[in-house]
């Protein structure tokens, strides 16, 4: 076992992990942060997307040891301490950007990564960026709408594809 230390949602976190322990396992099983989901476990679906040093990564395809010293952000750190949703989360609620909600943590984290680098994306850019996030309920349309709304853009005119 090796001790790893990292910052998760602004707070120090540490634990003993095996070489093979995935970042997502460490977050869920050691830290109890079960908001990050494991959907496919083969880096296709994106339900496990978290940020490592500000970049979106699939936590099922990164070893916990490799996050040593990193700043990790998960879905649990998105809302305010009193539970007030952040802009992206609120937009997902307002625009019905989820049904079962399983993919939502990854969608929100991917959306946050996109809007950080590209604050006013086009619809096409949003769809392209979500290439690695799979949703089996919504047909994506309302997710795209929610992200456009979160970026402060008018969504009334967005037609379904």
């Amino acid at each position: 076992m090796t001790q790893v230390k990292m910052t998760v949602n602004g707070k120090p976190a540490s634990g003993d992990v095996e070489g093979r322990t995935l970042l997502v396992q460490f977050l869920r099983e050691d830290l109890g942060l079960t908001g990050t989901h494991v959907g496919c476990d083969t880096s296709q679906c994106g339900a496990c997307v978290v940020h490592v040093n500000g970049q979106a990564v699939k936590a099922c395809t990164m070893l916990a040891i490799e996050a040593e010293g990193a700043e990790v952000a998960t879905i649990e750190g998105q809302a305010a301490a009193d539970g007030t949703l952040n802009t992206i989360q609120q937009a997902f609620q307002d625009h019905h950007g989820l049904q079962c909600g399983f993919c939502t943590p990854g969608m929100v984290m991917s959306a946050a990564a996109l809007l950080k680098d590209n604050p006013k994306p086009t619809v096409a850019e949003v769809r392209h960026y979500l290439d690695g996030n799979i949703c089996r309920c919504t047909g994506y349309h309302n997710i795209v709408k929610a992200i456009m709304a979160a970026s402060g853009q008018d969504v009334a005119a967005i037609a379904a594809e």
């Binding site: 095996e18 070489g19 995935l22 083969t42 994106g46 970049q55 979106a56 395809t61 070893l63 290439d131």
Partner: protein
């Protein structure tokens, strides 16, 4: 996954030393290797993670005008930092996998693995690049030896790739949407001294140069010059996504489109 120990060297020298132990395996971004480990298709006792080696990261132009990219540079970094120097290469990098995969996956990892459907081998071979390792330099034409086979020795690391910058280039990819790998893709690079055409995703021997097309295009750089050229479907990958003949045909279509994209 079977368990293993992880070493995180900070320099190339430390990594080479760590890899001298038997059953040690290097890992760059891990976007292919971690799924492989999960499937128990590899069982190293020591995994040497290269992600902490800063001297293997970065994009720079050297005095000879070559674009030198560290083996540990992520696709995201190449997509951004190579854009001003070599747009065809940056656009290829920007379309590998998905954004989260591009934030971890690396150039060196891709070409060390040499997946027969990977994107980067097409750019490296199509540019006539030089693969730099911890011990030598290997011309792209001598580097790719077959499906998942390269000229690398055990424990040898791709530390850098040096790309000559063409006058124009384009990567045309027919996506296999489930894997996000190309079903077939073609990299066309137009240099002053001639044209290079590299095809990935098609052959059972991995990436290859389509020399007939190169000769035709070096004479006249128009897609029409290719209209009578065909590729043989034997030796092409045949699976549920497409037969060998289909892939051979697709490679010719992708080549023409790439040429059109450059000519337009």
């Amino acid at each position: 996954m079977y368990n293993f120990d992880v070493e995180r060297p900070a320099t190339i020298a430390q990594a080479v030393k760590a890899l001298s132990t038997e059953e040690a395996q290097p890992m760059s971004g891990g976007q292919t290797l971690i799924p492989t480990l999960k499937a128990r298709l590899a069982m190293p006792s020591v995994l040497v993670s290269l992600s902490g080696i800063d001297e293997m990261k970065g994009v720079r132009k050297n005095d000879d005008g070559l674009l030198c990219i560290g083996g540990g540079t992520t696709h995201t970094t190449v997509a951004t930092e190579a854009a001003a120097h070599y747009p065809g290469l940056a656009e290829l990098a920007a379309r590998i996998g998905d954004p989260a995969v591009r934030n971890r996956g690396t150039l060196g990892g891709s070409i060390a693995n040499n997946d027969p459907s990977a994107c980067y081998p097409a750019a490296v071979l199509g540019s006539g690049a030089t693969v730099v390792t911890n011990s030598r330099e290997i011309a792209a034409d001598d580097y790719f030896l077959g499906m998942f086979e390269t000229a690398l020795h055990e424990g040898e690391l791709v530390t850098e790739v040096k790309f000559p910058i063409p006058q124009a280039s384009h990567y045309e990819k027919h996506l296999q949407p489930a894997s996000r790998f190309p079903l077939v893709a073609v990299f066309v690079a137009k240099f002053e001294e001639g044209v290079r055409v590299a095809v990935t995703g098609a052959s059972e021997s991995g990436v290859f140069r389509w020399t007939e097309a190169e000769e035709a295009l070096s004479g006249s750089f128009k897609s029409d010059t290719l209209k009578d050229l065909t590729l043989d479907g034997s030796g092409m990958i045949s699976d549920l996504h497409g037969s060998g003949a289909y892939r051979a045909h697709l490679a010719t279509v992708m080549t023409r489109r790439a040429v059109d994209a450059i000519s337009d």
